[in-house]
Symmetry: C2
Subunit: 252 residues, 2 copies
Amino acid sequence: MSGWLRIIGLGPGDTALRTPEADAALAAATDLVGYGPYVARVAARPEQRRHETDNRQELDRARHALAMAQSGARVAVVSSGDAGVFAMASAVFEAVEHGPPEWRALDIAVLPGISAMFAAAARLGAPLGHDFCALSLSDNLKPWPLVERRLTAAAGAGFVIALYNPVSRARPWQLGRAFELLRGLLPGETPVAFATAVSRPEERIELRPLADADPALADMRTLVLIGSAATRGIAREGARPWLYTPRSASSP
Amino acid sequence: MSGWLRIIGLGPGDTALRTPEADAALAAATDLVGYGPYVARVAARPEQRRHETDNRQELDRARHALAMAQSGARVAVVSSGDAGVFAMASAVFEAVEHGPPEWRALDIAVLPGISAMFAAAARLGAPLGHDFCALSLSDNLKPWPLVERRLTAAAGAGFVIALYNPVSRARPWQLGRAFELLRGLLPGETPVAFATAVSRPEERIELRPLADADPALADMRTLVLIGSAATRGIAREGARPWLYTPRSASSP
């Protein structure tokens, strides 16, 4: 039997946002590998082994998955959202690069998913309708001054900013520091959206002007979206305003 | 009968990459609206009206869709990829903001799709595994100096760059100019990927170092992806190298 590895984006949560391609690979896999809460989103199948691991063990998890595929298993590594965005795909290729040469010959494919960023944007309106960037606020794997430098560059050049990993128990102050920095660069009325667990039962969306953006509105499941000077709100009666960034832009 | 409007991302092409949520809305719609080649991707249904328009008429198309929804139709506006990314969602909300007040009370929702950027990244490996930005190279709706300013900011701060709308008949020189600019800011060996029509029969992927990146490799269906200094290639025998950007970064 010839093994393979599929790195699968499960989408933001609702199975109606999971692609048929992902479903087919999940059904064909002998082994399911991933962070516990993500593996739990996949319906259990008899005879499919489930390997649930802790959040911080991406590289070990990747090596384990590769070793299983090498020995003939059909392995599905699952991530929330899109597996290529601050998720497992990069860890798998890092393991391939530094692993035994045979891993380079394995049948590996990445199956894209609906990212947290686009699921959040869809709920809000069209805030990512023009130039934007995605930035992880985690300083576990990069120095904090680099985060600040990227925030400064992005805000200064007029990109809408999507922040991944805004906060965790081990990183409580970073989001507040980011807001502080951005208040010096963008108007106080710049819209900030906190989109938590989009498409899951506990979904919650909060909008604030940057001047009043409160880091306590974010947790580990939150995507924080910061508008550019061009991003606009459309007031609606009895509903949250639509947020969108026009397709046209003048020099900021 | 009460109308609605759904702004739907069809994904990059292959229906295995279209979400069940999108399929359900397409099946329930009375009217289908979009650029001809995108509407053509949706299987025809008897009794569903198809309104195919030209590429450049986003705002007219949006107004037409809103007016139909207002008069009771169930309208699906379709885009390729994700409808929120350089696509129809922003045009619809622009039309809502400047249209009759009743349009703000309409039942509107955006249904996210697999974006061209993530479909391309999945084929390549994990080039968007760390901080990245997405930028439209079209200067139809923004001044070219602003494009250059954003490219400079993004490359200087170490973002991987995804270029949408790299070239068209009316915009033949912009991509070459962008490469020229980036050659002054990034190492010549920085990987550049040209991902055309990913998941469609005519799919084509080309990799070049920035020093040799040839704008002629791109057409209207191409997503151009430019690595950061951290992006790496993994050589494979008899296959295109994997491209990935590690999760960890040091200050550039």
